[in-house]
Amino acid sequence: MQKHLGKEFRRGNANFRVQKELREWLANPTENLQVAVGDNIRVWVVTLTGAKGTIFAGEKYKLKFTFPMDYPSKPPSVYFLQPPPRHEHVYTNGDICLNLLGRDWRPNMTASMLALSILSMLSSAREKKIPQDNHVHADNPPGKEQANWLYHDDRC
């Protein structure tokens, strides 16, 4: 982790912004979200722990974040590694139906905002069930650009 934080990146480079976010994340740790970064600073694995008092309480899931070269003009690719939680907006291939990951992404949003949105999406669920249209999407590789997605609802 330190090797990533020590490097110098130019402003306007995707790594510059990702490094900033990583610093901010580590400076303000969240109980339910743990970040791990491997060799590539633009690939993160976030371990999400279901919040207390929700149907996912204590369960651990892993989110994979991949930041594109034109981040943050474009959103990062975010999906659940196997096995994903059973949630009506999470496909069994790991993809998440979330407008913020596609149509409604704006460059002043951050990875931690996305992770918090996903956590709150799990927290607000009443039952564990897969998306109605799971069968249409389940065989696709996860994490592709959500360019033409229709979202289940605006809030997810």
Partner: protein, 580 residues
């Protein structure tokens, strides 16, 4: 997904009344030319004939060859073709109109128009009913025409750095970002493409639209040009009154309405305004969608079968088809055969009395590896039958289209060899244009035919027309590919001219018949009895107007200006171009 043709075609035929507007040629057309020889004539003894004007004109036919030279503003029955500049002017006029009616900045007017799908009435209605709601929806609630500047330094939400006041910019909403970050965001939006005219403020959830002025001020020149192109493109895509010409590399746009079936672009492309594909009469737009989908699904199988080379049926030498005609002659053994069915050519021509079977799918023909009850296989065979012919005409159409330059060269050489004038050798060009057109229509007859139920009188009538057109098209193709040596003979030229005309007649007959719902001439639906098709081709061919080659050619010959009447050899040469 395989679609059962019998289901699709159930109600298909009755609905199939194409508005053939733009695809008809007038009956009384003339292949004539302007007589320019008058200048050279000395001594005023001009005969009546010499004063006659022979001019090349197509009447008002939209499907006739592209007129030469192309008119400056080409119109094909109510369809106007415009270029990017005229289009931009049309778009600006609409924006300016809204801008002045609602007394708002043109950039704001453009945002409103974009939101309401370029529908002027809904913009005005919504704006007059509830201006705030309309502005909110269009993302111009806090619209200002120019970039805002900050009075103090702030954190830029994109690079997440503290930035001094002078480096910050914002839209009317006042969400400040540093100039570099804002610009990078806009450039990336343009790189994403089509959606860039609908770019909003970089701030999370802010609905403010980034209007054209901001792109103008912030992004580099090349990016701005791309933005303007996308902006124009989305305008055309959204407005139903416009349609891009599908021609390769063509930037023209047609203005019209969806009842138009054929629109002739300045680039020579004839396309369907309704679906934006190449004009596809007699097939309907719906047929085309199903057909294209089907072809996509079957393409691997079809490609496997339709290898581009074939073995001579007699000596097995591998032959590559490199000319437009289906009449093949093996270089090795001189065997003449048909490229489509691989049968001997002698069984094809009307002159041998043979029956031209090449356009018919006969399910009773046993295929070597066909298994009883293998319905899927039978369906695949049926499809391949149609696809193969469709594809064949498609390739022949492309070939004939590519021939245009070669034909100009041939025309030039022909002139050089025997002193003909440019106008005297036009028949080659006219014939080729007719070939391109016939190939195109024939191609789509196989789509139409595929969805036409088997065993009906309609289908028999249709195949009769198709067969005639195919026969004459093949012959015309073969005739016009003869050596230039042949074309030194006047009767050879006349033959091409006549075949061009007769072929055109068959083309018209086919399209007219489909337009009339494939009914008998008496207006009767020939579902039962009536016309026996196969059993009585002679009667039908004669009645349908010039079924016999000889007869038609004979008729054509009679219409030529006679040698005697034209007064001598020099004039006779010109009569290679026939007059009606």
């Amino acid at each position: 997904m395989a679609i059962s043709p019998s289901i699709i075609t159930g109600s298909h035929v009755l609905k199939h009344r194409h508005g053939m507007s733009g695809m008809e040629s007038s009956d009384g057309e003339e292949y004539t030319y302007q007589d320019e020889s008058g200048e050279e004539d000395v001594g005023g003894v001009e005969s009546q004939e010499e004063e006659e004007e022979y001019s090349y004109s197509d009447g008002e036919g939209g499907c006739a060859p592209v007129p030469l030279p192309p008119p400056s503003s080409s119109m094909a029955d109510g369809c106007k073709v415009i270029d990017a500049d005229e289009l931009r002017a049309t778009m600006s006029a609409l924006i300016d109109d809204i801008s002045s009616v609602l007394a708002i900045h043109p950039c704001a007017a453009a945002a409103l128009l974009r939101h309401y799908n370029w529908n002027k009435e809904s913009v005005i209605d919504s704006f007059c009913t509830d201006p705030d709601q309309a502005k909110e929806k269009a993302g111009i609630m806090r619209f200002v025409p120019d970039l805002q500047t900050s009075d103090k330094g702030r954190l830029c939400g994109i690079c997440r750095e503290d930035v001094p006041a002078e480096a910050l910019v914002a839209l009317g909403c006042g969400h400040f970002f540093c100039r570099g970050c804002f610009t990078q965001y806009l450039v990336s939006k343009v790189e994403e493409g089509m959606g860039c005219p609908l770019t909003r403020c970089p701030e999370y959830r802010c609905p403010e639209m980034v209007t054209e002025n901001f792109f103008r001020v912030l992004v580099p020149h090349a990016t701005l040009a791309a933005y303007l192109r996308y902006s124009l493109k989305s305008f055309v895509d959204i407005c139903s009154a416009f349609r891009w010409c599908p021609g390769r590399g063509c930037d023209f746009v047609a203005m019209g309405n969806s009842s138009l079936r054929a629109c002739l672009c300045k680039c020579g492309m004839l396309f369907c305004f309704r679906c934006g594909e190449e004009a596809h009469v007699p097939a309907s737009c719906e047929d085309m969608v199903t057909w294209v989908e089907k072809c996509k699904n079957e393409s691997e199988t079809a490609n496997w079968i339709l290898a581009n080379t074939r073995k001579c049926p007699k000596c097995a030498t591998r032959i590559e088809k490199n000319q437009g005609c289906n009449h093949m002659t093996c270089r090795q053994c001189k065997f003449e055969f048909c490229w489509i069915c691989m049968g001997p050519w002698t069984e094809h021509g009307a002159n041998t009395g043979g029956y031209y079977k090449c356009n018919k799918y006969d399910p009773s023909t046993p295929t070597k590896d066909e298994q009883d009850g293998a319905k899927a296989k039978a369906e695949l065979d049926r499809y391949l039958h149609y696809y193969q012919r469709y594809d064949n005409h498609h390739k022949a159409q492309e070939y004939a289209t590519k021939q245009e330059e070669e034909i100009e060269r041939r025309m030039m050489r022909l002139q050089e060899t025997d002193g003909s004038r440019w106008i005297d050798v036009q028949f080659l060009k006219v014939a080729n244009e007719k070939l391109v057109e016939c190939r195109r229509v024939l191609k789509y007859t196989y789509v139409f035919g595929y969805y036409l139920p088997e065993g009906t009188a309609r289908k028999r009538l249709f195949e009769h027309h198709q067969e005639n057109l195919e026969k004459f098209t093949e012959h015309l193709s073969w005739l016009s590919e003869q050596s230039l040596e042949e074309f030194k003979k006047e009767e050879k030229r006349s033959e091409v001219v006549n075949y061009t005309r007769v072929t055109e007649t068959f083309l018209k007959n086919l399209l007219k018949s489909v337009e009339d719902g494939l009914m008998d001439e008496d207006g009767e639906d020939m579902e039962e009895g009536g016309w026996e098709g196969k059993s009585e081709p002679g009667r039908r061919a004669g009645a349908a107007g010039g079924g016999q080659v000889g007869e038609a050619a004979e008729e054509g010959r009679r219409t030529l200006p006679s040698r005697d009447g034209a007064g001598g050899g020099a004039r006779a040469r010109r009569s290679g171009v026939a007059r009606a």
